[in-house]
């Protein structure tokens, strides 16, 4: 079994959230963004972090990349401690954490890559060679010598991705790298990520897109409210739902529909995704969809709902998340205006 290249031990982070209530002034409330997280990422794997906004993914990544100090616990990246050997950790990683941010708009793409290469102490000759390789690999030739301010959002994203590769680090942290890319570019990027992985790089990948996680990740951790609630290969996670089926219903559903459905014996979980014009989608998890279908229809229609479509669905990682939390990944659990509670990091 390969040794872990990233090891997380009891990592916690607590922020203080400022609440402004009318007449009550400002109150500070602790928000536990990470709760004693333990995690191993094996050398050479693509490891996916899944979870809704505010689940703690970004906090975890920021701590692992040394941008944020933990309140308690620690971690090692490439064998280096994240609080005691920060520069070594930084030299071991390539990051794309802020989408297309993090580039100098008045510099060309090439100048940006050269600049960041220098900050990673890549020698000039190696840097020049590496940049040429990246231009060829990511097909940047048409625009790399224009200033970044003239780029489209997709072009900025791909240069930001190139920036994460310029130091040829053994570990890549990619936080939603395809978020503003068009479909073909995103597909191409995933292909390159796979290629990088084949070449031996370990990749920590966060995404909201289940198909991305399923396509790319060797293992996936589902994180919610600062805790790892599931961890395994995509197949293992899906199989963890046992013999459950998912029935997907689309239409117009009154609010009480979910409560009615959950009260039906045999229904394990119900997830709602809001759509346009009052329409929504219900994913109903059951043990036996054929046997349960009449009871589902009865519960829904008896409540004045309009069903427009009903179909069985293959279990996805999203269903695993729903089964574990009772919510969809689209639900935002972020707390706004947070400030960390002092920890030993200071």
């Amino acid at each position: 079994m390969p040794a872990p290249i990233i090891k997380v031990e009891d990592l916690s982070k607590t922020f203080l959230s400022k609440e402004r209530k009318k007449g009550a002034g400002r109150k500070k409330k602790p928000v536990h963004a990470l709760k004693a997280v333990n995690l191993d990422v094996k050398d050479g794997e693509v490891f996916g972090l899944l979870g809704p906004n505010g689940a703690g993914k970004t906090t975890l990544i920021k701590i692992l990349t040394t941008l944020l100090l933990p309140t308690s616990g620690t971690a090692w990246v490439n064998g280096y401690n994240i609080t005691k050997e920060e520069d070594e950790v930084r030299a071991s990683i390539g990051c794309m954490l802020m989408g297309d941010r993090g580039l100098y708009w008045k510099l060309t793409g090439r100048e940006n890559l050269d600049y960041f290469g220098a900050l990673y102490h890549v020698p000039k000759a190696d840097r020049t060679k590496k940049i040429e390789e990246l231009i060829a690999l990511l097909k940047l030739g048409d625009f790399i010598d224009r200033t970044v301010e003239t780029y489209s959002s997709g072009q900025r994203m791909i240069v930001a991705f190139a920036k994460s590769l310029v130091n040829d680090a053994p570990i890549l942290f990619l936080d939603e790298p395809t978020v503003t890319m068009d479909v073909p570019t995103a597909r191409e990027l995933r292909r390159i990520v796979r290629e990088m992985n084949d070449a031996g790089k370990t990749i920590l990948y966060t995404t909201h897109l289940m198909h991305e996680a399923e396509e790319l990740c060797d293992r996936v951790a589902i994180i919610d409210h600062g805790e790892i609630i599931a961890l395994g290969t995509p197949e293992e996670l899906k199989q963890s739902l046992g013999h459950e089926d998912v029935v997907s219903l689309e239409g117009i559903f009154p609010e009480s529909t979910v409560v009615r459905l959950r009260a039906v014996p045999g229904i394990r979980e119900v997830a709602v995704t809001a759509g346009d014009s009052g329409r929504s989608k219900l994913d109903v998890m059951v043990e036996n969809s054929r046997a349960m279908l009449p009871r589902i229809i009865e519960a829904v229609t008896g409540n004045g709902a309009t069903i427009e479509q009903i179909k069985p669905k293959e279990i996805t990682l999203e269903d695993v998340f729903v089964a574990k939390t009772g919510r969809t990944l689209a639900v935002d659990t972020r707390v706004v205006g947070e400030k960390a509670v002092s920890g030993r990091g200071g």
């Binding site: 040794a3 280096y80 520069d87 990673y120 053994p170």
Partner: protein, 304 residues
Amino acid sequence: MAAETVSKGFGLGRPGSRGSLGVIWSVFRARIKIITRYKGAVLLESIIPVVFAGLPILLGSAVAGSEQAAAANFFSYTGTTCPSALPSDCATLFRLYMLMGSNTFMIVSLMLWLIGYWVRREQETGTLEALYLAPAKRLYILAGVTSYTLVRSLLAFVTATVLGSIVFQVNPLSGLFGAAIAYLVLGIPALWGISFFFGALVMRIKEANSVIQLLQWVLAFAMGVYFPVTVFPLLLRWTAMAFPPTLMNDAIRSTLLGITSIYGPWYVVLGLMLMAAWTVPLLGYQFFGLVERRVRRDQGVGQF
């Protein structure tokens, strides 16, 4: 525990001096490239001190009745002695005094803007987070930025002096111009130190404009842009004199105009400047480090 994890890659976390110099050079070069892509920025900022010097000259003339009377009033009120007996020479020195005060203020102001606003701009564009993700030491990145501010400030100072000399018909080379420039260069490390304090505040409170606006006018007042701080009441005078930009301003002006420094003989001025050049940047850098650690503990440097 660390031994349980594997270690791969360059191991470039601790580069040699060549790598560190490479970081300073890259940061410096990038900043220069960026500013040269804003057409006319350096020239435009060089015009500001000329305008600022014109205001007290015209106001003095208006109040005293003539420029020579304004110069005579100025030298007698401020306790500085005009080294020439000719009223027209004193009027020229009065203009040069104002021009040099404005120029030095521009340098101080530029330092605050260039470093304080650099932190803020990097925070807003996400590049500050990108800098913190790199293994390059903060010291070398700041050294690159400060080298750039030095070059840009000197460029602006020389341009403003040339422009001001033409507009106000003064000859800056009449005094010890080389020594004045040496005092300017020697005064800049202390300004870097103040800028580090300021940059740290900007990083923490995530706002640059109002802080810079306030601070630069407090600075202008305290450093005696248009007058020697000897006109202040005792407590305020000592406070102002303890402030490095006041020392730098006074050193430049007294050298160039051949008037007595408010700090005493030249070797006292030089000693104080050397001390400020050594201690203030160290204190500023320490403060920057403290705030940076606090920010990393609280929200992370990328939060803007």
